[in-house]
Symmetry: C2
Subunit: 276 residues, 2 copies
Amino acid sequence: MVSTFADGGFVQSLRARWLRSSSLLCVGLDPDPTRFPPHLAAKPDAIKTFCCAIVDATHDLVCAFKPQIAFFASAAAEDQLLDVIDYIHATYPGVPVILDAKRGDIGSTAEHYAREVFERFHADAVTLSPFLGFDSVAPYLAYRGKGAVILCRTSNPGAAEFQNLDCAGKPLYQWIAESVATRWNDTGQCALVVGATAPRELAQVRALIGDVPVLVPGIGAQGGDIEATVNAGKTDEGGLMISSSRAVLYAGDGEDFAMDARRVAIETRDLINRYR
Amino acid sequence: MVSTFADGGFVQSLRARWLRSSSLLCVGLDPDPTRFPPHLAAKPDAIKTFCCAIVDATHDLVCAFKPQIAFFASAAAEDQLLDVIDYIHATYPGVPVILDAKRGDIGSTAEHYAREVFERFHADAVTLSPFLGFDSVAPYLAYRGKGAVILCRTSNPGAAEFQNLDCAGKPLYQWIAESVATRWNDTGQCALVVGATAPRELAQVRALIGDVPVLVPGIGAQGGDIEATVNAGKTDEGGLMISSSRAVLYAGDGEDFAMDARRVAIETRDLINRYR
């Protein structure tokens, strides 16, 4: 499977993008029509229009975009998801697109999810659950150059329930971090997810994984601490994709909502960079 | 949210179905067009036609149907998935439909996945990952009467990698079984997934969860042992949804493929019942 990047795969492209954009900000595309500006609400392709306006207003401020497939699926808007991803590739080449889908299934089923993500939706990377072990991730890695962004320690209130359980002397999330960074990452296609609400865990993960990229949700609406996140997870080249969705997308609800989003994205990028 | 069952929710309906059908067999609908009989392959709605033929040929032999969403998503066939589920509800009322989707995401995203599964696709239950903890499952339980079928110990070769890790004296899958059967199951909407490839684990899980239903994939193509599965997991009323997909669906590849599927479904149901 040919990568959409001329200069290598997802991880190499992300590294180039960190350098070129001087940004660790990832804008998450979680389109919720009930929160759209009134002038968009009635349009038949409101989701696509909204997302592309956000992309246009923030593309120079981000290291990646991260559409969340649930928001498209709940609206039966798969066609608009494809349009948004294709729009990013065509208009802003070099900006990686991570499809946030958190898939996790047995190998024969994972082959179908991988086809959905990479062949149908043209994503550069996908978020995956590690719960079923390596053979549930391998079908995604078979798409050379594509990225597998594996959940390690999530940002939600209940994350610690199982992820922080002490397993033979260390918490589950550390077992995952070590497995992904070593045995799972022969081809250099892996990244991890650690929430901004868990900076202590992020520092421990970073110590285990070298320069493997980490996607960090949980700032903005979820209340994660940017200073603590950057200090815990940064590397010389960047190391982090710090994702904000709702705080950027819904910064304003007027006709100039995209400029409000741009303003919040600039503030967030600059705040992140203050601590690099 | 009104249940599709007149007599209560998913779990009650499953119990009634065990009694009425005298079957613990669940037929999994994993439609793979590359394996369809040649006379179907060229049809524009081949997936729907194939699945509905399987449903017609096996409806009286099953306690539930389990469509796997990845097989529809990889073919951009969401409309056919809805048609198949609506066909089952309309033609064979009382047969529960579990959408196998293995979702697992933070609460605000889970609300969208729950809407997709229950409002868009009209499923009676959905498979979910426990990895993010209870708040990632709660939005599904908010649909009263709908079922949440939680992964506990999966059937794939790599399942033990994390699920069998010893966590403070017991394996992770036992922590999950206990949590789901107690704290998560106040409303009686939960079930668990334990693979037929792990009968020892299934027996341990059954000892922890009382009569909570267990979905058991992994017989048929995956090689799980039916006798060991039934002995490990049965309850007086049934207790198990033993799922077979490929072995039933692709029993034949001629024009009478559905009758071949029926023959294998009968054999499998009868083999299961021999050990009850």
